[in-house]
């Protein structure tokens, strides 16, 4: 009565290819961003830190992943999806939008959750996101920074201090 599992093998293969492609694109993104980052000169302290971490990632082992990635996968991916595109009509995307752009706002949403009708990129959402204030300042900073550096976003990271101040 239940659907067969014959596609497991092919799913495994697809999964492997998908992980490989994602890893590859992540490496390419790292190399690319570190190149452009190093050529730019900015006095912004946060961006400098971000640059340093990206450069060290570039020169270090290839497997190094953003510390916010595992937090995203554990707490955010179910609703906001692996590609950050969300669920139409239910959960908004975390790619470029007015919420991810606003550093204070996105920290608040992660800490305190969100309910009520909102509009994101012209689409209306009316659902509930639970508070994630049980995460440490570092975990929140990591996941917010990870989102702001991925899914099409190119925004500077946030710090543990930013999160502590917002609590």
């Amino acid at each position: 009565m239940f659907q067969d599992r014959k596609s497991e093998v092919s799913i495994f293969n697809k999964e492997f290819v998908r992980v490989f492609i994602i890893s590859l694109s992540f490496i390419v993104a790292l190399v690319g961003s570190s190149c452009t980052q190093s050529s730019s000169s900015t006095s912004d302290q946060q961006t400098e830190k971000f640059q340093q971490s990206m450069e060290s990632a570039d020169s270090g082992p290839v497997e190094q992943v953003h510390p916010g990635k595992s937090v995203y996968e554990k707490y955010c991916l179910t609703c906001h999806q692996a590609d950050g595109s969300g669920v139409p009509g239910m959960y908004p995307p975390v790619g470029p939008n007015e919420w991810t752009k606003d550093q204070a706002k996105i920290i608040q949403v992660v800490l305190n959750g969100q309910s009520g009708e909102i509009e994101v990129n012209g689409e209306v959402y009316n659902n509930l996101m639970p508070p994630h204030n049980f995460l440490s300042d570092k975990e929140v900073a990591d996941v917010v920074s990870y989102v702001r550096a991925n899914f099409g976003n190119e925004l500077p990271p946030v710090t543990e201090e930013d999160v502590a101040a917002a609590r």
């Binding site: 009565m1 239940f2 659907q3 799913i11 697809k14 998908r18 996968e73 707490y75 991916l77 179910t78 609703c79 999806q81 692996a82 590609d83 595109s85 969300g86 669920v87 139409p88 009509g89 239910m90 959960y91 995307p93 309910s115 009520g116 009708e117 209306v124 009316n126 659902n127 509930l128 639970p130 508070p131 049980f134």
Partner: protein, 437 residues
């Protein structure tokens, strides 16, 4: 009778006249059929992107209508579709084909309310808006209903999740409305790890079930006038009254996030396969167990939910809850149910159930599933075979990793007067008409 040459000749003439009349009649019918053949609706060369069983074909009736949810087709073939969000000032879109090619060429937006439930009964068009049920009188031969709306039920709870109020009628003047639970599993803090399940779940008083009202009584109130017909149903967007068996059926959206909320008990793979989406035979007083229980298709049992002390195996208080008549894979999101009574499709489809699966989101990080219309053959009140995919290809991609990958998502089903099956999509607002031969 006198056997005379005269009477015999008279008899022969009568026979000849009679035969001539019949030849003429048969000829006329043949001619008529010839004329009708020219009128036969031609399917789209690509069946509107759908993959269908042999002998079936499809055409796109209309496109980009808005967030098209449930659908009804009246005896004249006019189409009425509820919209999740208003478009062009209307919450209902009305379609007519004036050129008999199957494609809608007259498209009008109507009504100040929007929602999911929509149904035709006795020259009225009923709409299940998110907090009320209204109806509009239909005017014979006119596409648009009269705008003198009547409120049938008011004050239904406004939910931010599971807001849809699908509806159907029995043959005795009753209206059935699903009131979904604004919750995953009645946790004190919704969808929050570590938050306990409320016991008893207070939401069940006004949510998580199917309510019965009078179809023709105005201004009814859920608590004062409505009867909680069945409970323990998290959300059933797919409901239909089976007129052959005089029985209510529903397909439930099962709970989410077992591994996310209870990582010690469930892994991501188990989360993707638990719990089943349940096909329910709904009787007065049925209790299907939400939020305390969910259906595990591997154990073929209702098991105790982890919010209420369950460990994935313990049955406990769930042993006496009503079981489904069929278990579908988890998270496929059944959004409409239709018992087919037409004559167009082959005999095996008669009185069987079509189910529109909107497609999953809660299987991530596993690939998403659903995004098709399924069929279940029936004998009497029970399925007579396994479920099968009837119409596929809505997503437009081989693998849906996240719901936004899907170009179209099936949401509503209706049967046309000739037995065609209509399917809506709420991503872009496409409507298909599926025909046989």
């Amino acid at each position: 009778m006198v056997d005379s040459p005269l009477s015999r000749r008279h008899f022969k003439e009568s026979i000849m006249r009679f035969s001539a009349f019949w030849f003429f009649l048969v000829g006329l019918m043949a001619c008529n059929q010839g004329v009708h053949k020219l009128d036969v609706i031609q399917p789209d060369a690509d069946n509107g992107g759908l993959i269908l069983p042999d002998g079936f074909s499809a055409l796109v009736v209309a496109d980009t209508l808005g967030h098209a949810r449930h659908i009804q087709v009246n005896r004249q073939g006019d189409i009425y579709i509820s919209l999740n969000r208003p478009k062009n000032g209307g919450g209902i879109v009305c379609l007519r084909d004036t050129t008999n090619d199957g494609r809608a060429d007259l498209i009008k937006y109507f009504g100040e309310h929007h929602g999911t439930g929509i149904a035709l009964k006795d020259d009225y068009l009923y709409l299940g808006a998110d907090t009320l049920v209204v109806r509009y009188p239909m005017i014979y031969s006119q596409l648009l209903p009269h705008d003198a709306e009547e409120i049938i039920v008011q004050g239904l709870p406004h939910n931010s999740q599971h807001a849809a109020k699908p509806l159907t009628f029995d043959q005795d003047g009753n209206l059935y409305v699903t009131v979904g639970a604004p919750s995953n599993a009645c946790m004190e803090q919704s969808r929050t790890k570590g938050s306990p399940g409320m016991d008893p779940c207070p939401l069940l008083e006004r949510h998580g079930g199917i309510w019965q009202f009078k179809a023709d009584q105005l201004n009814q109130n859920q608590v004062l006038d409505g009867e909680r017909f069945a409970t323990g149903i998290r959300h059933a967007v797919a409901i239909d009254w089976n007129t052959t068996e005089s029985t209510l059926f529903a397909v439930q959206h099962g709970r989410d996030q077992l591994s996310q909320l209870f990582p010690d008990l469930y892994d991501a793979k188990q989360n993707a396969e638990l719990p089943a989406e349940e096909f329910l035979l709904v009787e007065e007083g049925s209790d299907f167990g939400w939020p305390y229980c969910y259906y595990d298709p591997m154990q073929q049992a209702k098991v105790l939910a982890p919010e209420y002390g369950g460990d994935g195996h313990t049955l406990g208080r769930c042993e006496d809850k009503d079981d489904p008549i069929m278990a579908f894979p988890a998270h496929l999101a059944p959004n409409d149910l239709l018992f087919y009574t037409g004559d167009m499709f082959p005999e095996r489809y008669k009185n069987g159930a079509f189910i529109a699966f909107h497609g999953s989101w809660n299987r991530a990080p596993e690939v998403q599933e659903g995004y098709f219309v399924a069929f279940v053959s029936f004998k009497g009140k029970l399925p007579s075979g396994d479920w099968e995919v009837f119409a596929d290809g809505f997503a437009g991609v081989d693998v849906v990793n996240s719901p936004r990958d899907a170009a179209y998502r099936p949401c509503g089903l209706a049967q046309g007067p000739d037995g065609s099956l209509f399917v809506t999509d709420d991503v872009q607002g496409r409507v298909w008409r599926i025909m046989y031969e």
